[in-house]
Amino acid sequence: MLAGPVTTKPDGNALALADVRKQFGETTVLKGIDLAAEDGELVVLVGPSGCGKSTLLRCLAGLETPDHGTIRIGERDVTRLPPKERDVAMVFQSYALYPHLTVRRNLAFGLELRKTPARTIDKRVTEVAGMLGLEALLDRYPRELSGGQRQRVAMGRAIARRPSLFLFDEPLSNLDAALRTEVRIEIKRLHHQLRTTMVYVTHDQEEAMTLADRLVVLNGGVVEQQGPAIDVYREPATRFVGSFLGSPAMSFLPAEAKEGTLTVGDATFDSESAHRGPCTVGLRTHDVVVDPDGPLTLEVRVVETLGHATHAHGVVEGHPFVARLHGDQRPAPGDEVRLRPVYVHLFDPESGARIRR
């Protein structure tokens, strides 16, 4: 199996996983992952800790071998290939820079291992250093760099290799908030520039939304939903996806659907759904507007003032609820605010699956 590339039937995808499973001892971490990415896509794997996203990434890198299923990168079945034969580059959460080598040698390490001619290495290192603004740091050691600089060296080391697939394992989690936004934009820019397929792991839903061409939401070792980020956000396939994406999270209210209306406790409002019977209504913070005649009453408990908006946390019909108000509207705790839903998500109360209209 280690003899080299194994060609399987091509389907144009840069990356394809079929029924990938992985178990550590008694714990099943991946329970059959199917995933496909087109050439040049930025795929973001997002989910809470323990959902299997890092293990999945390590399977892609070849640092773990799946118990079952296949992984294909380009035309090659790499399921059982060691990392060095996969032509992937990885940016680690800890950066994992080689502490005994200068930035220059860190960038060149992968190329040196591949016996790339010295002139080519020089050219690539200069090019990557220019791309990431590392020129002045080339002769420094990792310990002499700040967190942000180390992070850029880690990315540079991956880029210098010109791999056919980039892997990012929570690369921003060790940076402070301001730097995180900056580097996030940098990654997006690099992706546009390089046009190479990237797989990016994060637990941060905002990072996931802003970066992803294709968003893959993982939970408990299974893919809850995958697709273009905006589609996943607008039409979450499950209650979990709905609550995971968006901050503050979606609020849920138990409801009863009748002909053209939804009833939540004592409140009833119009809804065009073919569904009849019990259901769970999901409302994002911005899916309601303040309306003196609105059917829902929010008893405000906590108010967060953001300036451009106000988050009112409280209770609707006995259930926790968060509404996003205009920045000029700043109710006090104890106030009651009447709300009118403008968009609702419906989920099956048993399975949590989305109810299509």
């Binding site: 060691p82 060095k84 580059a89 680690f92 800890s94 820079l97």
Partner: protein, 277 residues
């Protein structure tokens, strides 16, 4: 008040320094006054380098410079012990740090157990063993004996060092295109270099200073290690303390030189946390 405090602190420090240095100074002055031992104040009354030159330039009946031969023997044994210890302990410690295998815990306990017995306890069985393989009165035999204690110690030292290196580093190297062996050689080993230096130094010093086993297993004077040579100056019939002191100073020179040479690594080894990528 501040001045008083500073004076007090310095007085304490100075007396501590004096306490530590006094025996050393005494030995130095003893070496320089071979005829008459110095009194309470370590200062030679009649300084002379006679004892030193007699120790260093001692010849046997055939005119061979014995001390040079013995220094050579000592250096050979100590360097060989350090080399063997590092050579065997490095891969062993790495395996114990990184891999899971049957008997891992048992072998760790066994290694620890070997450290609990004084070397002398095994002197007689070791003598029989060395005799059986013809390595009595042979420097190779001595290296073998020293390695039995140096290797387990080195394994423990280095395992700790390997444990301190994040796995990410090797994994990064492997994703970058290295085999496991290359990742070990190109990334892990250079990162633990301070620990390797410290461990080698300890193995060297243990072998360099060891007396009892060397005195038991060696009988040819020309391959005596230096501690055995020194002991011979304080024999049953006469005690040449001046020569003993002169020899002791000469013996400590290589160790001091090694410490000086390795001090950068020693400091690095003490602050090993600083290597985190």
């Amino acid at each position: 008040m501040k001045v008083l405090k500073s004076l007090g602190v310095h007085a304490i420090i100075l007396s501590a320094v004096a306490f530590a240095l006094y025996p050393v100074l005494w030995v130095v002055s003893l070496a320089l006054s071979p005829n008459e031992p110095p009194g309470a104040i370590p200062w030679p009354s009649d300084p002379s380098l006679d004892a030193l030159s007699e120790v260093v330039l001692r010849q046997d009946d055939e005119g061979t410079y014995l001390f040079l031969m013995q220094t050579g023997a000592s250096l050979l044994v100590a360097f060989a012990t350090a080399f063997v210890a590092i050579l065997i302990a490095t891969p062993a410690a790495y395996a114990l740090s990184r891999f899971r295998f049957v008997g891992k815990d048992a072998s760790l306990s066994a290694l620890l157990a070997t450290q609990m017995f004084p070397g002398v306890a095994a002197a007689i069985p070791l003598y029989l063993l060395l005799d059986a393989i013809g390595l009595i009165d042979h420097l190779g035999g001595l290296v073998l004996v020293y390695a039995t204690t140096a290797v387990p110690f080195a394994i423990f030292q280095l395992r700790g060092a390997f444990d301190g290196i994040p796995r990410d580093l090797e994994e990064a190297a492997m994703v970058d295109g290295a085999t496991r062996l290359q990742a070990f050689r190109l990334v892990v080993l250079p990162t633990v270099r301070p620990a390797l230096a410290v461990t080698a130094l300890f193995a060297f010093m243990t072998a360099w200073n060891e007396f009892i086993l060397a005195a038991t297993f060696l009988s040819r004077e020309e391959i005596f290690t230096l501690p055995v040579v020194l002991q011979r100056y304080v024999g049953e019939h006469r005690a040449q303390w001046g020569h003993f002191a002169a020899g002791a100073i000469v013996v400590s020179v290589p160790v001091m030189a090694l410490f000086y040479w390795l001090q950068r690594h020693l400091v690095g080894g003490l602050t090993a946390g600083g290597v985190k990528g």
